[in-house]
């Protein structure tokens, strides 16, 4: 018997075969998770099916000879803001508009380019509008669309106006200039989305993820099968013992001695020892696989998170990400170590026990298998339910952690406003949510699990009845029946274990899904990742009609500014004007939505991001220090900096003095987020950190706003020396901070309104003069 199993195990040992087998087993056993593999929806969305450029041919048929389509814009709302598709097409001569409506197949209107007086894009809250003014048409024409189309609309308007301008000025555009903006590049075409959504069952992906450890998994499997086979031997031996020794002794039919038991006993002991050894090896190997896989998963997750852009983190809750990295991977580890290999082993046992049962007595085996279809049906029913319960439970956990990561760092504010009770209540609620979702799982499970047991007990009862009958008719001997019953109870043990597996598989699938969801987020620098490697830049920055949107809202509305290498620019403007956004663009935390930023004449999007950031020293308004010593924090951007460099940077940032006074000097721990230091001290350390990397471009975003005037003056003096030889962009509200700036740039509502030196701007009596006046008034009162 054992050899039979071993032979099979050897066969499965061939790794590829194993994978094949395992994935097949998984696939068939778990069937298809409806959750991840929905059939295509039955309903047909007239709006989205029409969103395909299927309407374009309609327009193309209307073109005059020689007329060509230059650009097109898909709109998705009608004028009453109902979802309805429309199409605007710019050709070499005209602007055509196709409106789809329920009643008509599509009505086309057109304007010659020369008739167009203006075409303007207006943001109207969550939607956008295009207003067309044409000669002889008093009210104008209007189109509406959702925020998803605004970028394209912007490009389209630019394209139309360019084209019209070129046409009117008498130089019809050259063919090559009329590039078609990529209208169906984003948002509009849902077909890609649907295709990509079939990323497959998360458990299969987990298996794929585990590929590097296949040899180990195969070993685990072999050990599992061997251990199982060893334990399967004992009923067989027991059966033989009963029939060959015990019953003859009892019935005295043969002159047998009790000592005949000895070889059986030794063999039973041997199998027990063997099973113990094999199980020991198996548990160890399987647990190691689980840890290896999930440790790699955690690392991959963290690595992946580090590559994601700021936009992603703006949207995500920290607690949720933490729960994915910690508790979801932990659940997977439990699943792999406790359930997965066991399941494979259970399947083996299930199949082989069934075979043995049939070999012993086919009819009895048939009776024994009776409850199996019922159990299978039950499992199927409960699975759908469990699946959503587990997903909800994972989310609830994430929400709870989010509350923690929100309140614990904010504990000062909580205490200051005496809102402890409220936070306790908030946590209580989220915790209750966790409780409730887990309770839902348990309610289902506590009902379901005994139910399976009941069916298996029922099965055993059937066997006893049928067995008694067969024994009575002399068909089998009592020993065979004993052996049969032992196998059957084992068999049901497997059935129960497998049904438990389906539950834990649902939990694992939910967790795996949450993990792969993060891993599937593309590092979303929207355009291509730059490849151009660069060394040290000279620091010339050119903004060319830069535009930027957050969703539908345009934050930067077209900024052009040329900053020479080594120049210091002071950026002023009311808060909310878009200053921080502008430097975020300059650091390439976000990509521009229009125009371009060039450094040393190269488009920022072509440059390798990390190379570029090595050239940037950034000091933020809210300095963030990491857990560690002061010198670690100063050397954050250049871990191999010498002590000398660290001290020089600290001196330059006027931090040296106060660091000296600390008990541990540069070795002082700053605490989490630098909480053991004052705001001004943190600020100075972050300035030192930026200076240490000797950046070609220094960016100070209200860097000195939280230090006292005295310290600011000191830092100012330090900066005076340091801005030499590097391009500096400094944002400050205290205008005095910017007295060394070569030029001051005033921003308002995402536009530059004034540029000039301090004196020039004072004389123009514009915004800057007003700000200056206001500041003087404040300091005089």
């Amino acid at each position: 018997m054992w050899f039979e199993f071993a032979g099979l195990a050897r066969q499965c040992c061939a790794t590829r075969q194993f994978l094949h087998f395992a994935s097949y087993a998984l696939q068939t056993a778990i069937q298809q998770h409806h959750l991840w593999q929905h059939p295509t929806p039955a309903i047909h969305l007239s709006s989205t099916t029409a969103a395909q450029p299927a309407t374009l041919p309609l327009i193309e048929r209307r073109l005059e000879p020689g007329e060509r389509v230059i650009a097109r814009l898909q709109t998705d709302l009608d004028r009453q803001l109902r979802f309805q598709n429309g199409l605007l097409v710019l050709t070499t001569r005209r602007l055509l508009a196709l409106e789809e409506s329920q009643e008509e197949a599509g009505q086309i209107r057109d304007w010659a380019l020369a008739e167009i007086e203006s075409l303007e894009l207006e943001e109207m809250g969550a939607t956008g509008a295009l207003h067309l003014m044409a000669t002889g048409q008093p009210g104008g024409s209007h189109w509406r669309f959702t925020a998803g189309c605004i970028r394209e609309a912007d490009a389209f308007v630019a394209c139309v106006m360019d084209h019209r301008g070129a046409l009117l000025s008498g130089n019809p555009p050259v063919e090559s200039q009329t590039a078609e903006p990529d209208v169906d590049d984003e948002g509009l075409d849902f077909s890609d989305l649907v295709r990509d959504s079939q990323r497959g069952n998360p458990l299969l992906r987990l298996l794929m993820f585990s590929r590097p450890w296949l040899p180990l998994i195969a070993l685990g499997l072999v050990l599992t099968v061997a251990a199982t086979s060893a334990s399967l031997l004992s009923p067989w031996l027991t059966g033989s013992l009963v029939d060959a020794v015990l019953i003859p002794i009892q019935t005295q039919s043969q002159a047998l001695h009790v000592q005949q038991i000895t070889p059986y006993a030794i063999m039973l002991l041997g199998t027990a020892l063997l099973a113990w050894l094999l199980k020991w090896g198996r548990s160890f190997v399987v647990a190691r696989i689980a840890e290896l896989v999930t440790s790699r998963m955690r690392r991959d997750l963290f690595e992946h998170l580090q590559r994601l852009s700021l936009i992603y983190f703006n949207k995500k809750r920290t607690g949720d990400l933490i729960s994915r990295i910690s508790s979801d991977t932990d659940r997977l580890s439990m699943f792999i170590s406790l359930s997965f290999i066991d399941f494979v082993c259970d399947v083996f046992q299930f199949v082989f026990t069934a075979l043995i049962l049939f070999k012993i007595h086919p009819l009895l085996a048939l009776v024994a298998l009776g409850p199996v279809p019922v159990v299978a049906w039950l499992v199927k029913c409960v699975r759908v339910h469990l699946r959503s319960c587990f997903a909800a439970s994972g989310r609830a956990w994430g929400i709870m952690l989010s509350v923690l990561t929100d309140t614990i760092p904010g504990v000062r504010v909580v205490k200051a406003f005496a809102q402890e009770e409220r936070e306790i209540e908030r946590f209580r609620q989220t915790d209750h949510h966790v409780y409730a979702t887990n309770d839902r799982v348990n309610r289902t499970w506590s009902f379901f699990s005994p139910m399976i047991e009941m069916f298996t007990d029922l099965g055993l009862l059937l066997i006893w009845i049928a067995g008694a009958w067969t024994v009575a008719h002399g068909e089998i001997r009592v020993g065979v029946l004993t052996c049969f019953i032992m196998y059957t109870s084992r068999f049901y043990g497997r059935v129960e274990a497998m049904s438990r597996f389906f539950a834990s598989a649902q939990r694992a699938a939910a967790s795996a899904h949450r993990i792969f969801e993060v891993l599937d987020v593309k590092p979303d620098m929207p355009s291509t990742e730059g490849t151009q490697r660069i060394g040290r830049l000279s620091g010339r920055i050119e903004f060319r009609d830069v535009k930027f949107r957050h969703g539908a809202r345009q934050i930067i509305r077209g900024i052009s500014l040329d900053i020479a290498a080594g120049e210091m620019i002071g950026l002023v403007g009311a808060s909310g004007a878009g200053k921080t956004t502008l430097i975020n663009l300059a650091c390439r935390f976000f990509d521009v939505s229009g125009g371009a930023i060039l450094v040393d004449g190269q488009d920022l999007r072509d440059i390798h991001v990390e190379d570029y950031r090595k050239n940037i020293g950034l000091v933020l308004q809210e300095p963030y220090l990491f857990f560690g010593t002061i010198s670690d924090n100063i050397a954050y951007g250049k871990p191999d900096a010498s002590r000398e460099e660290i001290i020089a940077a600290a001196k330059a940032a006027c931090a040296h003095e106060f660091i000296m006074r600390l008990t541990d000097g540069y070795d002082s721990m700053v605490g989490e987020r630098g909480q053991q230091l004052s705001g001004g001290e943190r600020q100075r350390i972050s300035i030192a950190r930026a200076l240490l990397i000797d950046p070609a471009i220094l960016i100070l975003d209200e860097a000195t706003s939280s230090v006292d005037t005295e310290t600011e003056r000191e830092i100012q003096r330090a900066l005076d020396n340091l801005v030499h030889g590097r391009t500096t962009i400094a944002i400050a509200h205290r205008l005095g901070t910017l007295r060394n700036a070569n030029r001051l740039v005033v921003m308002e509502h995402g536009l530059i309104t004034e540029i000039g030196s301090h004196d020039q701007l004072l004389n123009t009596s514009g915004t800057y003069a007003r700000l200056h006046q206001a500041m003087l008034e404040v300091s005089h009162t």
């Binding site: 929806p41 109902r82 925020a147 998803g148 989305l193 949207k315 949720d320 989310r395 994430g398």
Partner: protein
Amino acid sequence: MKTPAAHPDLQRSSVGALAYTDVTGKRHDKVLPVRLFPLTDPNRWISITDLQGQELACIEEVDGLPDDVRKILLETLAERDFVPVIQVIHTIRHAELGCEWCVTTDRGQTRFCVENDESVEALGGGNVVVIDQHNTRYRIPDLAALDAKSRQKFERYY
């Protein structure tokens, strides 16, 4: 604090925009009404701002306005309002970026993509806001009032 004027003096200007005359008699040719609580209390607290976003007046109670003013105000608001109310959820399924929703709203059928779990917010009392990939808001005013199938689909995912 109540606004001093009994009701703000709103008119429709010749170009069709909303115009406002303030207490000093100064006329603003184009003003924008802004709902201050668009999700939780859309019909009260409406601010009248100029194009730079400076508040000129604030209306607490729309119902208290004279009919003509209210009509103009609501019309202008309707031009800018876009928070479709989800009536039926056909499917929600995992897509490349988060979940793809396929719904019928009070503004017709549509599909949209919801990137994160965080984009589905419960505002309390069964009032749920769904924010799609492009920052468009969709509302489910009362989850309990949704038909059972839609609610099931919603609950399976959120």
